[in-house]
Symmetry: D2
Subunit: 336 residues, 4 copies
């Protein structure tokens, strides 16, 4: 039985993580932390009533390590890189759900996040936890950088076609639509119900921080210099991301060839489904699946991908990473 | 041309008020205030782009009076009773949209709002601005207490049947469902999109402040000692209130008799529609209408009423009150 | 390994049933039927892509019995009573999710459903599958009548207090709010997105068919003559029911006593959670839990209960019944 | 006073049209038709209760002409071209809200709509009713082809930049998101609440019929050969369209220059607002405004535009066209 802690357990991702871990046969949740909240966990997440008997605590890395073998770090960026080194030093394995260990270049981090990275030596050596691409690097790692939600959607959509040489690596347009839970659980006026409901809008046009992450990982995976224009949209729904991606084929190609390339790429990967219909976010909600498909329209390739931003985009892939780190079957607790 | 100011212009009610006043042929909006916000009005309410050229200012009552003849006070309770006396002293007519001048008994105010009323002499003398009941008292007033949204829904549903002696004044159960805009525009976790969407729940069970207001006004209107149990619910929609009300008939009665009594009561009242079907909040959204109907089921009377909490429940009735205060046709700017 | 068939597999309840059964360790789904649809199951329910490899077939009872041990009948009422006798005769165990075997009196059935019951001898002898009340009668049964969604919510809320003698069995008012999936998946104008969204309304006032079912079961369970006024509302959300119930205490009582009675009544029942806060439908969505609580306001008792109409209100309790029929642990496949 | 009829008055667009016309000071609605529905208009559209006293009738063109001067034809495509010639012959002025008179080439119509056009001589001579581009051609016309909703959004976003030579006319990608009311009011499973809510998906990828309409009108307006890739998405909201459009600048350009070009292009056009922030559909809902803005990101131009598909995308622009046909002020009844 692995003992697991969750650092920063008040948000939506932490909630989903707890729910998945509660059904994991080889895991026991032993600690949940918050800097300022001292309530019972089921007061913060009423859906957990009767399911877990823990209170939020403010624990040091050493205290966490006394109770747990592995820690999911659900802190916001910056806070995460202040905490992770101590967790590792205390002997914990860590899955970090923030952005702090995803980028490999401290300069790129500083430019996009506006903070000097205080743990730069771990950048470039930390494995990026997207199992569909990097599963062989994950077993045995002590620290995994869990991917961003938009990033996973975009990469899973594009990797087969870029790696296979079917589409140009540059000039890719990613038009992504996300449910509101992706913006977190902190009280902010722009994510109030009466602001978001009955409304769709773009945000962070040309400046969303998942842009360099998408480019970096696809470049690493394909060996080509990938360049994307990424535009996120706030969509009136709780959860789900749909990425509609426009690319240029390297040479004339049919939809069937591209679907075939996708199927081959994801053969044996349990959580990516290459579908023939146009994917709906509803069909992956509350699951660890990513649905992808592709269309050829005149001289363009359109790739469509959906996933649940809180599950396959965050908590689900985090458990998938934990499973792989520990040599547990990758799908454990993740297919319901 | 009447010059009108709005005190506290950053919320949803103020926005709706501005939108209505912009189409009012006899009104010019000359000032909009905020204690702390100095933005242009269309930065705060982007839907007003190109429609109004004002900036939020922090103005004293005297400064407001230099620019306006009438002021809509959209401050929260307590703040309102600190502001209204000065507005009146400065010579302004005032429609107060807070709860501060609705109750007649300072002791009741203190018990439900937890504050000593600092302007008690105006309680009991301020006219309650529900035109369907008190239209004859409104013309010429200098201060009108604009009714609460749940209150108007409940009173408009019940007044014909209580005043007509058709139902018992005690033991009335009001089960009300409101859209989320009723909770205001301040950033609070419980009204985030991802908390409210896909969820309905009761709140303030047995303790909502509209309870004494409903009882007081119905008691005043009917001369009977009205007693209600009021339960509000937060419903996943922007706007709209549905009240489902359960009462006991004083003697056996048919639905047709009750519908007839309602029609007679509201004859000549332009904004209450006695409908035969079951009212939907959608059909009154963005209007100043209140739709009401009634059913007799075995030995119970069920009254159903809908209105838009921001319009007929707040900004619309405020303009209706202004029209009546000034001798302008009651419906001006209110039927679109 | 139990072989299971689903008759009428195109709707929302059947989808949830399949999803639960796919994670059930002792079940194999061997047949899914439809009268007219011949598509693959994952064409009808795209969320099942990659999870099940079956096509819809039009099978006779005998053909189903050749492939399955137990059949979940998800046909509409009337169609169900035309099918169930043949399924039983063919040797199948049956969980019937329609209303056809829930009422015990053929006359009551005819009055509320407008059809003569064609299998009246089974009424009165079929066990009503609400495990929290009738778990001891379910093991070994060949036919179980799966309860209605509003019915389960109402009964689970009221049973402890009526059976315990805390509230009057008559004069109970049930004001229930349901998500739109409760209205099924057939194309009807009144459940179109643009009709339901941003709207709440009552329907079937005084005439909803769950009324006699609630009364019958509570009367059976308590030995008292229970009489309820039931008013359902269509709420703009996919799933979830909230029942707000108003009752009269038999004698003065405190909230603590009533909560204590509820806790005792549901002690050892894994799927009813007696909570202290006001339940939200969101917290039981996609689960087999029913959350209940109670408040005492002046001389009234208010009971609040939530469940997911498709899970605890339909597919989840159906599997719970199957588990109990077969001596499998009641919670198998139901806690995720 | 102009007498106006609405042919095909049961859908959402007809409802909005009626609501706008009811506040038009120079219009009287004298007839509303339906092939099969004989109900009162407020039974079909409950929001119209108390506002209009008409019943749906099945009228010939001649009968309509006896009662009206102008007819809004709200029939579906094909049905419209079967009706419009008779309406014109009977002496009516017609605003046709279908697609039947929008395209200029009968061959293109046949290819995209799958029907031979039965009134081909009017194609190419009918004025396309987008007042921001063709206002000078509309006065005095007897037949106006009212534009499609996606089309208006896309054209209003792109026209200033294509006509001004700022962006390449080819290779434009339009990623559009629409509320569900755009799919009409006929009962279809794919637009049920429980299918659309909590879900976003693309549809008609590469095959939506607004594609040739966008290309034709922009080509006409600019004199350049415009080519677009248009991808529509079904978004969980009642109303609103957001188009996020990706184009290539003809030469390096700043956002300020492009915003300036837009402002100049729409100077004096009352219903297009060039905004600086990122437009939200909520801010144009229930209005006749189209909000547009532009961003330059690296070597791409991103144009964003929003409008209400039922108002500026259908009923509002139809009234705008009527006003212009008749020499009435363009904004009459359209700013509320």
């Amino acid at each position: 039985m692995m003992r697991v802690a969750i650092q920063g357990a008040t948000g939506y991702t932490a909630y989903e993580l707890i729910r998945i871990l509660l059904r994991h046969p080889e895991v026991e949740i032993t600690a949940v932390t918050s800097r300022s909240d001292r309530r019972r966990l089921d007061a913060v997440h009423p859906a957990l009533a009767g399911r877990i008997d823990l209170e939020l605590e403010d624990l040091t890395a050493t205290e966490i390590a006394e109770r747990a073998d592995l820690c999911f770090c659900c802190l916001p960026h910056v806070a995460s890189m202040e905490s992770v080194p101590a967790l590792l030093t205390a002997g914990l394995e860590v899955v970090d759900l923030s952005a702090d260990y995803r980028l490999t270049d401290p300069g790129v981090y500083e430019r996009w996040y506006g903070h000097v990275h205080t743990d730069p030596t771990r950048l470039g050596t930390t494995v990026y936890g997207l199992p569909e691409l990097f599963a062989d690097q994950i077993p045995g790692q002590k620290l995994i950088a869990n991917p961003g939600c938009y990033t996973s959607t975009s990469i899973l959509a594009l990797a087969p076609l870029i790696c296979g040489g079917y589409i140009e690596p540059a000039g890719i347009i990613i038009d992504a639509k996300s449910g509101v839970s992706g913006a977190g659980r902190s009280a902010k006026q722009n994510i109030l119900y009466a602001e978001c409901n009955e409304s769709i809008s773009a945000y962070a046009v040309g400046s969303h921080r998942h842009t360099p992450e998408i480019e970096q990982v696809l470049t690493t995976a394909s060996g080509k210099d990938v360049d994307v224009l990424f535009t996120p949209h706030l969509t009136p729904m709780d959860r789900g991301i749909l990425a509609t991606i426009y690319a240029t084929p390297t040479k004339p190609v049919t939809q069937e060839v591209l679907l075939g390339a996708m199927r081959e790429f994801y053969d044996g990967k349990p959580f990516v489904r290459v579908v023939e219909g146009l994917p709906r976010t509803k069909d992956v909600a509350h699951t660890n699946y990513c649905d992808v498909t592709v269309r050829v329209v005149e001289d363009r390739v359109i790739v469509l991908a959906t996933l649940d931003n809180l599950i396959k985009g965050a908590a689900g892939v985090a458990v998938q990473n934990m499973n792989l780190m520990r040599g547990i079957d990758e799908t454990t607790a993740l297919i319901v």
